[in-house]
C-alpha cells in the first residue's frame, strides 16, 4: 500500500464568474521514503494539489469536486477540521516558498517549534526545549540553544527556511510537502537547503513531495517526476527517464528552459505563449495552442494519461509518433 494515494482528484473554486477547476482528475501515489517532484508553471495546479492534501484550502470558495486522497490507508477528503489537525504535523507536514513571511514575526522560533510538538504530544517543558534544540541542530543552525530565543527577523532567509524545516519535522511526519522551498533563496543557499532535505530524508525516512517550477531542483532531488499543465498531469516518470527520454512536448519545453553548464552553448528557449486562464482553456489537449507538434486530432479530446514503459505515463497522442519519427 502506498503512503499517499490520490485518485481522480478534482478541486474547484467558486468565483464571481462561476466555478473554476484548478486541478482536474489527478491521480498519483507516493511510497514511503520516496521523493516525488511535481513540476509546472505557476497556475498549473501544483500548489492547489498540495493544499488539497493538507486540507488547507479555504472552503468555500474551494471545493473538492470528486476523487479521493488516501494517506497511510486513511481517507482524508471527508475528515473534519479537527480530525485533519491530527494528520497535520505527525502525518503530513509542509514548508512554504516564503521563509520571510511564513514564520510568525512576534513569537520566538523556539516557541514556534515547541508549540508544534505541544499540539500533538504530551511532553514536559524541559523535554520540549530539548527536542527543539535537537531539531535546530539537525537542520544545521549553529549554537541552537541560544537561537531558540531569537525572533524570525533576526535570522537570514536561509536560516528561516531551516527553522521552517525543523518545525515541520518536529513531529516526525511520514510525508513532507515542500512547496517551492528554495525559490525565494539565493542560489548558493538553494543548494544547501536541497542537500539538507535529502540528508533529512535519509535520516528520518519520510517521503517528500517537492513542488517546483525548476527542473534543476527536480534533477537534484527527486526519485520520480510528475509534470502538470493547466490543472492536469501531462507526464509522470522516474527522474532518469524524464531527463533522458521525455515524451510530452511540454516536458521537453521545460527541459529546454534549464540552463545547462555542460553544453557548449547555453540553451535557454522559453515555451512560446502563456498558460491559458482556467476559464479560457482550449478544447482537447490544453497544451495544444503552444505546442509545435499539434495536429487537428489534438483538439478532439483530452488525451488520456497512458503508460509508455515502466513507471512512465504520458498524456499526449503525438508522444509515440514523435519518438518513432
Amino acid at each position: 500500500m502506498s503512503l499517499l494515494d490520490i485518485r481522480g482528484l478534482t478541486t474547484a473554486f467558486q468565483t464571481e464568474r462561476g466555478e473554476i477547476t484548478a486541478v482536474e482528475d489527478i491521480s498519483f501515489s507516493l511510497e514511503e521514503g520516496e521523493i516525488l517532484g511535481i513540476v509546472g508553471e505557476s497556475g498549473s495546479g501544483k500548489s492547489v494539489t498540495a493544499l488539497t492534501v493538507m486540507g488547507l484550502l479555504p472552503r468555500p470558495p474551494a471545493r473538492i469536486v470528486s476523487g479521493s486522497v488516501r494517506f497511510a490507508g486513511q481517507e482524508l477528503t471527508g475528515l473534519s477540521e479537527r480530525q485533519m489537525q491530527k494528520v497535520r504535523g505527525p502525518g503530513i507536514a509542509m514548508i512554504f516558498q516564503e521563509p520571510m513571511t511564513s514564520l510568525n514575526p512576534v513569537f520566538r522560533i523556539g516557541e514556534q517549534i515547541m508549540e508544534t510538538i505541544r499540539a500533538h504530544e504530551r511532553l514536559s517543558t524541559r523535554a520540549l526545549r530539548d527536542r527543539a534544540v535537537q531539531m535546530l541542530e539537525k537542520v544545521g543552525i549553529p549554537s541552537p540553544a541560544r537561537r531558540l530565543d531569537d525572533y524570525p527577523h533576526q535570522l537570514s532567509g536561509g536560516q528561516r527556511q531551516r527553522v521552517m524545516i525543523a518545525m515541520a519535522l518536529a513531529c516526525n511526519p511520514r510525508l513532507l510537502i515542500a512547496d517551492e522551498p528554495t525559490t525565494a533563496l539565493d542560489v548558493t543557499i538553494q543548494a544547501q537547503i536541497l542537500d539538507l532535505l535529502m540528508d533529512l530524508r535519509d535520516e528520518f525516512g519520510m517521503a517528500i513531495m517537492i513542488i517546483t517550477h525548476n527542473m534543476g531542483v527536480v534533477a537534484e532531488t527527486a526519485d520520480r517526476v510528475m509534470v502538470m499543465y493547466a490543472g492536469r498531469v501531462v507526464e509522470e516518470a522516474p527522474v532518469g527517464t524524464v531527463f533522458d527520454a521525455p515524451l510530452h512536448p511540454y516536458t521537453r519545453g521545460l527541459l529546454d528552459c534549464v540552463p545547462s553548464l555542460s553544453a557548449a552553448k547555453p540553451r535557454l528557449v522559453a515555451i512560446p505563449g502563456n498558460l491559458p486562464e482556467p476559464a479560457r482553456r482550449p478544447s482537447g489537449c490544453r497544451f495544444r495552442p503552444r505546442c509545435g507538434l499539434a495536429v487537428p486530432a489534438c483538439a478532439a479530446a483530452i488525451p488520456p494519461l497512458d503508460p509508455h514503459g515502466p513507471g512512465h505515463r504520458v498524456a499526449c497522442i503525438r508522444a509515440t509518433a514523435e519518438v518513432a519519427a
Binding site: S102, F107, H120
Partner: protein, 314 residues
C-alpha cells in the same frame, strides 16, 4: 527599546512646545477686550482694569509670552476666575473622576469592540458579520449625548433604575459608583466600540491572510490557537495605535458626557469654565488634557514597540 523611548520623547518636545504656544495664542482669539469679556456686561471700568492687571494683559506681548512659559516651567497655569484657585490645582482635583469614568468606558470599548470585530472577521460575510458591522455603523453614527439622553429617559425617568446624574466616588461606595458611572460610560463607549470593531475586523481579515497563519494551520494547531494566539498577537500591533486614538476620543467625549450627567470631572469643569468665560481655566485645562494625551501616546508607542519584536530589538 530605550532608543524608541528616547526618540519618541524627543519628538514630543516640539509638539508640546507648539501646543502650549497655541493655547497661549487662544486668549488672543477673544474679540475685543478679553478683560471686558471676562468681567461681563455689568462690570465697572475698575473691575475690568483689575482683571486686566491680574491676567497681565497690560504687559507687552513678549513679556506675556515669557511669563506664560515661565509659569509653565513652574507648573503654574494661572488662576481660575471661577474657582479662585490655581488652574493646575483645580484640574488635578477633578482628574481622578474623569480618569475613572474613561477607564470604565475604555474597558467597555475594548470588550465590545474587540469581540465584535474578531467575531465579524472570523465569520466574514455571514449574518453575524453583518449584524456586528451594522452595530458598529450605528455606534459611530449615534451622538453620545443623544444616546445618554435616551438612556436617561428610559432607565432613570421611566424605569427609575439608575440616577439621572451625579457621581459617587468609587472609594466611598463602589456599588454607587457603578450605578452612577454605568450610563455615562456606555454612552461614551459606544462610538469608540463601533470604531474599534470596524478596525479590528479589517485588521484581523488582513492578518488571517498572512503566510504565517497558513503555517500555523499546517502545523496542526487547533483553530482556537491559530486565531487567538497567532492572529491576535499580530493584529494587536496596529490595534494598539488605534487604542491611543480611542483614549483621546474618550477624554474629549467625557466633556460632553460629564456635562450631560452632571459629573464633576474635567469635562464638567471645562464646560463650566466655557459658559462662565473663565478663560484661564479653559486655556490651562485644554493644555493639561492635551499634554496628558501626548504622554499617553508615548506610552502607547512604547507598548507598540514592545508588542512588535521587530521594533523592540532594533
Amino acid at each position: 527599546m530605550i532608543g524608541v523611548a528616547l526618540r519618541r520623547i524627543g519628538s514630543a518636545v516640539p509638539v508640546l512646545l507648539l501646543v502650549s504656544l497655541i493655547t497661549f495664542g487662544m486668549m488672543r482669539l477673544i474679540p475685543g477686550d478679553p478683560a471686558a469679556a471676562i468681567a461681563g456686561l455689568s462690570a465697572t471700568q475698575r473691575e475690568i482694569e483689575q482683571i486686566r492687571a491680574d491676567l497681565g494683559l497690560n504687559e507687552p506681548f513678549l513679556v506675556q509670552l515669557l511669563r506664560w512659559y515661565g509659569g509653565l516651567l513652574q507648573g503654574d497655569l494661572g488662576r481660575s476666575i471661577l474657582m479662585g484657585k490655581g488652574v493646575v490645582a483645580v484640574t488635578f482635583e477633578r482628574l481622578p473622576v474623569t480618569l475613572g469614568l474613561s477607564a470604565y468606558a475604555l474597558v467597555l470599548t475594548l470588550a465590545i469592540g474587540l469581540l465584535a470585530g474578531i467575531l465579524a472577521a472570523l465569520r466574514q460575510n455571514t449574518l453575524i458579520d453583518q449584524l456586528a458591522m451594522m452595530f458598529a455603523m450605528i455606534g459611530i453614527s449615534v451622538p453620545s449625548f443623544f444616546l445618554g439622553l435616551l438612556m436617561i429617559i428610559l432607565f432613570s425617568v421611566r424605569l427609575g433604575w439608575l440616577p439621572t446624574g451625579g457621581y459617587i466616588p468609587f472609594g466611598e461606595d463602589p456599588w454607587g459608583w457603578f450605578r452612577s458611572a454605568t450610563m455615562p460610560a456606555i454612552s461614551l463607549a459606544l462610538l469608540q466600540a463601533g470604531l474599534l470593531a470596524r478596525i479590528t475586523r479589517s485588521t484581523m481579515l488582513e492578518v488571517m491572510r498572512q503566510d504565517y497563519i497558513r503555517t500555523a494551520r499546517a502545523k496542526g494547531l487547533p483553530g482556537r490557537q491559530v486565531v487567538f494566539k497567532h492572529a491576535l498577537a499580530n493584529a494587536m500591533i496596529p490595534i494598539t495605535t488605534v487604542i491611543g486614538i480611542i483614549i483621546s476620543l474618550l477624554l474629549s467625549g467625557a466633556v460632553v458626557t460629564e456635562a450631560l450627567f452632571s459629573i464633576p470631572g474635567i469635562g464638567g469643569l471645562l464646560t463650566q469654565a466655557v459658559l462662565n468665560r473663565d478663560y484661564p481655566l479653559v486655556q490651562g485645562g485644554l493644555l493639561l488634557v492635551t499634554a496628558f494625551l501626548v504622554l499617553v501616546n508615548i506610552g502607547i508607542d512604547m507598548l507598540y514597540a514592545w508588542l512588535d519584536p521587530r521594533v523592540r530589538y532594533e
